[in-house]
């Protein structure tokens, strides 16, 4: 199973290899979707892939060094605003947006990492962003 999280790591621990630790210890696959390191803290968006136990354990481990927040639904498309132009499609870094057979544009919210690129590009401002 798959789980997406935001991870904040405190300044004391930024040098600790927490991501490789969970990979080694709990046998999860990790994709780093976003990473920003500041002098006194770090922000990561991670996708964890593994069985339920390994996910729970990984999250527990990560929590020892920072804070974990589940990525729930970060954005929503207002159907009545969207004109199905497709301008957003190529700008989604994880390919969560696509044209259906009938040329309507749909979002796979489970894939979305909340980067907001689509919201910035959308000419009709059809994407609502829930700031986390």
């Amino acid at each position: 199973m798959k789980k997406r999280i935001f991870y904040w790591i405190s300044g004391r621990n930024v040098k600790k290899p927490v991501v490789s630790d969970i990979i080694k210890t709990y046998d999860v696959d990790v994709t780093i979707l976003k990473a920003k390191m500041e002098p006194s803290e770090g922000f990561l968006t991670l996708e964890l892939n593994g069985n339920e136990d390994s996910l729970v354990n990984s999250v527990e481990y990560l929590k020892e060094y920072g804070e974990v927040e589940d990525i729930s639904q970060p954005i929503q498309k207002k159907e009545e605003k969207c004109i199905d132009c497709g301008a957003c499609i190529v700008h989604c870094p994880v390919g969560a947006i696509k044209f259906e057979e009938d040329f309507s544009v749909t979002f796979d919210i489970d894939e979305c990492i909340g980067c907001k690129t689509c919201a910035k590009i959308c000419p009709t401002k059809a994407i609502i962003v829930y700031d986390l």
């Binding site: 301008a87 499609i89 190529v90 700008h91």
Partner: protein, 509 residues
Amino acid sequence: MKTIKQINEKIKNGDAVIVTAEEMISIVEEEGAEKASEIVDVVTTGTFGAMCSSGVFLNFGHSDPPIKMMKTYLNGVEAYSGVAAVDAYLGATQANSDDDISIDYGGAHVIEDLVAGKEIELEAEGYTTDCYPRKRVSTIITIDDLNQAMLFNPRNCYQSYNSATNSRDEKLYTYMGKLLPEFGNLNYSGAGQLNPMQNDFNTTTKTYNTFGVGTKIFAGGAQGYIAGEGTQHSPASGFGTLAIQGNLKEMDTKFIRGATIPKYGSTLFMGIGIPIPVLNSEIAQTCAIRDEDIKVPILDYGIQRRDKPTLGVTNYKDLRTGKLSMELDINGEKVDKCIRTTSVSSYKTSREIAGELKDWIVNKEFFLTERVAELNTCAPKSMKADAKLVRDIIKRPPIVAKATISVPEASKILIEKNINHLPIVDENNCIMGIITSWDIAKAMAQSKTTISDIMTKYVVWASPDEPIEMVAKKMSANNISGLPIVDNNKKVLGVISAEDISKLIGHYI
């Protein structure tokens, strides 16, 4: 051979056969054009995309005491009121007078809000005369309070449009949307096989088979008319355009939508559909045009000139697959590249428009009109304005140096030649880096001794074909005061400084 009158009779009797341009494709494929022209009476088309050249004439009625409006604002967006006392034209691309809002709520958004029946703040200032003693007016109106709200779009419904990509190493925000660096995407616009202009275009005569001035059309959800050819109309090159008009009061926000193209401007998404009477087999054949038959040139918007280089030609069918493989010439090398494509107009809504127009005709709510005159054939001209290019102000020979010189030697060159920027080159005179007097000063303070330690290696450069306006933009964006000028092989031809540019601009004014 049929006539429009006969077709209208059939519509009245409920016997007419009406199909959309998409449906017509398979009919002509299966039955042939001759038979198809006997079976089908009307083909409906549709397109829905950003049409910047859109706007509305509004008549506000007279206030008491009357005012001659001179500066007129609707929700903070200026409408041009040098038309008559209480008439104004509001253009879709007009930005908001509030800098903080600017293109996020512009003319197009006011037009959408009018169509939606929302309340709009009207502020106007006049100049007083005996007829019009009032100086100012400030009130709230809706579209129902207006005498007329007449959509008039001087240029709509492009027959073809280029697709856009970007060769540069920085992203660009264009009217074709955001273009990622290094050919990161290819954006296209247009309804292709549903496009009215494509379906009526006679490739032999380079004119339109059936429509012209006075043709009744679907405009933004209402019944409107073709007013004539649009501005920059260029049928000979396949880039015909239309001027259209319609009653905004009857339009529908589903087919007329305010939008903002990021960092470009506000624009109106307009829906236009045109019925084509199938009078003969030639017309039937033309209406069967398919996405794959419509050529779309691929232009490099990275070259910010009027004439952008064409990198190749594709078609709507390939564009709609979402990716395109093409061979590109990158720095003189042939490279195969797979570029992701995306549309910036709506095929889905174009389809809905063709379908809606079909329903109108089936339901006897819409009858075809005979054109009053054909569209003029024109060929657009370019503006007479000289482009000053980098090559025009290049100083020769270029002053450059090798990375092997010492810091004091470099500083000597800067002082003796009275320059601020010294490009560092390899044995072929190709750019490796650049040194400024500031770098030298820093080197002294930090006791650094070799050129390669102190030079800027990530060099922003200009090509001789770039307009100086572009170079000025580059300098301010990168916060630098001079750029090396390099040819295609990165060989240094000279340096252009902010000072050179300001001298030139002074000269211009």
